[in-house]
Symmetry: C2
Subunit: 234 residues, 2 copies
């Protein structure tokens, strides 16, 4: 939570958008509102009208979609400074939900679109962000299409570790990228990786028994053999 104060809250394209432009956006639209989300609270519903776009301020959001018979697939995760929402389309192609406690900065989609139209530089940044999001999504396709359970979990652990912003022992400012807290439950991990909760659990146990990771209280992970994980994650 205290992360907020030490981070800028860039709009649209993360760290690379000039803060000045962000400020002006807030001014012009008058709609850049902070909003707190409880665990499991949904910001956008798949198929519903997409009223908002937003930036993640703190917490982790999941983007997900469902088959007609209710199977869920997580499409991606959004971390602080990530942009979420779908400009230039009426209905949201996926749902956006908070994994844990989260804070987002929301803008009315129409205001945002109008503003983008009038500011080519922001549009360009949004384009670059979207292109790299597309790259990321395609890498995830490789995972879903070709990786086995072990490789999938290794990839996720490294991904979360690289996004890690958890100070150890409440020691604010001290970061240790080999120990971190999982922002999601086993079930949510299973959904992200396209596996079942049992398979995920067995893989955790396997990594623990092999001395690759240490697990404290389900959610706190310490990476002991990063090399092993990296070899698996390609």
């Amino acid at each position: 939570m205290t992360l907020i104060s030490v981070r800028p809250v860039p709009f649209g394209t993360g760290r690379s958008v000039p803060t000045l432009m962000i400020m002006r956006l807030s001014f012009l639209t008058g709609s850049g509102r902070r909003r707190h989300l409880d665990p499991g609270e949904t910001l956008l519903w798949e198929g519903e009208e997409a009223i908002f776009v937003a930036n993640v301020v703190s917490g982790v959001m999941k983007l997900s979609t469902q088959t007609s018979d209710g199977r869920e697939q997580i499409l991606g995760l959004a971390y602080p400074s990530d942009f979420i929402g779908r400009p230039f389309t009426e209905t949201s192609p996926y749902s956006v939900e908070a994994l844990g406690e989260a804070v987002v900065c929301i803008f009315r989609r129409l205001d945002f679109e109008r503003f983008v139209h009038e500011h080519a530089r922001l549009e360009h940044k949004l384009l670059e962000r979207t292109l790299s999001e597309l790259d990321k999504t395609r890498r995830w396709m490789l995972l879903l299409g070709r990786f086995n359970a072990e490789e999938r979990l290794a990839t996720l652990l490294l991904e979360v570790a690289s996004r890690n912003t958890l100070p150890i022992d409440g020691n604010a400012g001290q970061f240790d990228d080999e120990q971190f807290e999982l922002p999601m439950s086993r079930q949510q991990i299973a959904d992200v990786l396209g596996l079942t909760i049992e398979t995920v659990s067995r893989q955790f146990t396997k990594f623990r028994d092999e001395g690759v990771i240490m697990i404290s209280g389900h959610r706190t992970i310490t990476i002991l053999r990063r090399d092993v994980l990296e070899a698996l994650a390609t």
Copy 2:
């Protein structure tokens, strides 16, 4: 092949980019070249410098990536009028290869980027195209993460049928979206769907035996029970 003459060759964002702008692009850069590709010929290599961006004129291209140990995953297909390539980045994050005979209209990436910078309207169209490509890619993630073999093939058949531009019996101008030619081999279908060739073949046989499709000479498919496929594909 004769399709070419009856279709515009829009640049960057398909049907929605004004032809005028396309013309001007060709003029300015002087590099909008037609290029013929043989089956299996690769236009861009994963990890190599991305020299080109291009538009598909005819044929079908595949975008693919590989794991470190050589397993391939197809990331998507590009049909006539689709944009391919990755502007604003040095190296191509995936390979682009022609499935069959293909013609593309290539532009030097740097020329394209410069031009985009100077033409906000084109940039906007490219952004919209990229956003919808991202949507499409995410739908494919659902397929890879949650669909079984039957559902995957049903999805592909409907996708190809909807892209179908094959006149029946050489009767140009006459289109029948329930009969079409597959632009790829069984092996390529397997790669697209994240399956093996044997599983794909068995599914084809199963659909045929169930009276869902008709198969003539491996590649020509007639959909007899679209409702069944749609129920599976969701």
